[in-house]
């Protein structure tokens, strides 16, 4: 009994450093954020007074907030289906390759993982430059005129940021999905081949149902990621032209954080809430799948 208690204490001692660090640098700031969202805070003077829901009301009255909510939702709605189809298609295609080709494509698809969003944003900004960029040069070469403005056009800027997002995010999703596909028993595919099952049925009836936990993970992470898109947009368009790519995070940092800490905290709390709900729904879906 005594030895058992000692082991309990030892176990706790191993976690203790992490727990302290967690409480001081993650949990306390989180609490602070909730407190700040209902107070008027002055960073320089260090004063704080309770103002209730005033920050939230103020936030909802701002037109820039409303427009950035719409832009963020549009970004999520655009990027999510594209990324999911992209990841699924190429993970499936790569998993069907054998030997050297498989290794080659796995390595290639993985390369952008090491490039930061910042670099990716800058490089794609160069490739998509309307006058000097490679993409328009190529379009000119094959005779497609019109010179799309890509990131510089108010209408095309938001869809154009998808190039950057997909390029950087694809490795992550493809790797996770590939990991799932490797675990699908080979015999299932062999039987399917004998029965003359086509590639589409093969994918939808065998692969997809067997990787749904990985699929859900990628789906959740990509949803949250799209929701908080920042780095790649900040470095490529900076929220422009004319606020066309001002997502919630860009709005939070560029407009609110600098001059209005209380409202910035209120927005943070709202975003946390949305992300929590998204994660929660995912957790519930996974649980239910396991139960059946």
């Amino acid at each position: 009994m005594k030895a058992n208690n000692k082991l309990k204490l030892t176990g706790f001692m191993f976690i203790f450093p992490s727990l302290i660090f967690f409480l001081v640098f993650f949990f306390y700031p989180l609490l602070l954020c909730f407190v700040n969202s209902v107070s008027k805070t002055n960073l320089l003077l260090g004063t704080r007074e309770f103002v209730g829901a005033k920050n939230f009301v103020n936030l909802f009255q701002r037109d820039a907030f409303k427009s950035s909510v719409i832009i963020t939702l549009r970004f999520v709605a655009m990027s999510l289906p594209v990324i999911m189809v992209f990841d699924l298609f190429f993970a499936n295609a790569i998993s069907r390759l054998n030997g050297r080709a498989n290794r080659f494509f796995t390595t290639v698809s993985f390369l952008p993982f090491m490039v930061s969003m910042v670099c990716a944003g800058i490089v794609w900004d160069w490739l998509l430059d309307p006058n000097l960029g490679l993409v328009n040069s190529f379009l000119h070469f094959i005779g497609v005129g019109g010179k799309p403005l890509w990131l510089r056009g108010p209408k095309s800027a938001l869809p154009s940021t998808l190039f950057i997002t997909i390029w950087v995010r694809a490795p992550f999703g493809i790797m996770i999905l590939l990991g799932g596909m490797q675990n699908v028993p080979k015999e299932l595919y062999e039987v399917a081949d004998l029965d003359g099952v086509g590639p589409f049925r093969r994918f939808f009836s065998i692969t997809l149902p067997l990787i749904n936990s990985q699929l859900l993970l990628v789906f959740t992470l990509e949803t949250i990621f799209a929701f908080r898109a920042f780095d790649q947009i900040y470095t490529s368009t900076g929220g422009g032209p004319g606020g066309a790519t001002r997502t919630l995070m860009i709005y939070l940092i560029k407009d609110l954080f600098v001059n209005n800490y209380g409202i910035a905290s209120a927005l943070t709390v709202l975003m946390l809430l949305v992300m929590f709900i998204v994660s929660f729904i995912q957790q519930m879906t996974v649980r239910r799948k396991v139960e059946y």
Binding site: F14, V118, S137
Partner: protein
Amino acid sequence: MVANNVSDKLFRIMEWVLLVLFLIFIMIPFIMIVLTSFKTPLEITDIPNRTLFHRIFPDSFLNFRNLKDVFWGTASQLNGIPFYRFIINSLIVTFFSLIPALFLGLTSGFGFAKYDFPGKGIIFYMFLGLIMVPMEMISIPLYMVVNKLHLTNTYVGMMIPGCMSAFGTFLLKESIENIPDSYMEAGRIDGASELWIFFHIIIPLITGPIVTFIVIKCTWSWNEFFWPMLIVSTEKMKTVTLGMSKFSNDLFREYSQICAAVLLSIIPLLLVFIFGNKHVKVGLMSSGIKG
């Protein structure tokens, strides 16, 4: 059966065409970074008058001026701050946040995997929340804490959020759980302390996952943009990602120098990757299985 074979073949061909396009899509940015960094500013402004071949390839592959200008800080956008300064800053932050992250990841992973104590479940789920909540969300309030501690514009301040990684805790916990308890019992019977068991039995058995964690953690720290952007304002303390973004804030962009800077910022990670390539792939693939 025959019709099925034909459609199967057609699908296979389509798949290969798309795979080649995928290859081009992934590789073009890398290729253009290298090619553009050899170009002169004049070659770039002259692009509309050139043929496609000359738009892509530089006139001379021996033009190292951009790389030199960026590295030594003589490029106009850098205001005399050499790029190697940013690289050193990033190396310091990456390395010194890796050590506590590894320490905290290993100890907490071990504690969660091999011991039972009251409150373990609650603490575990709190850590799990850390993965769910993106760092950016905590950054704003954390800024206040760091500001109060007068740690803005310091290495310590830049390292703080990177010193603990919930991902590390989970990855290492999963690997330690796979080690049979009998290994530990054997050590205990021989009179070894728990700490001795941790260092001499557990750690040598999970070197693979440790390398995976190191490589992924280095990549994340190196590429971190949001946090340093919030707390660093002194030019000399900026990291590579912040230094990069200096190039993108100008109305007129000197693309040849930008690409030289991107190239310089990727090289250190490339080295880490050549060594840890396999481990990262395995780590990412299995992280999905656990999720």
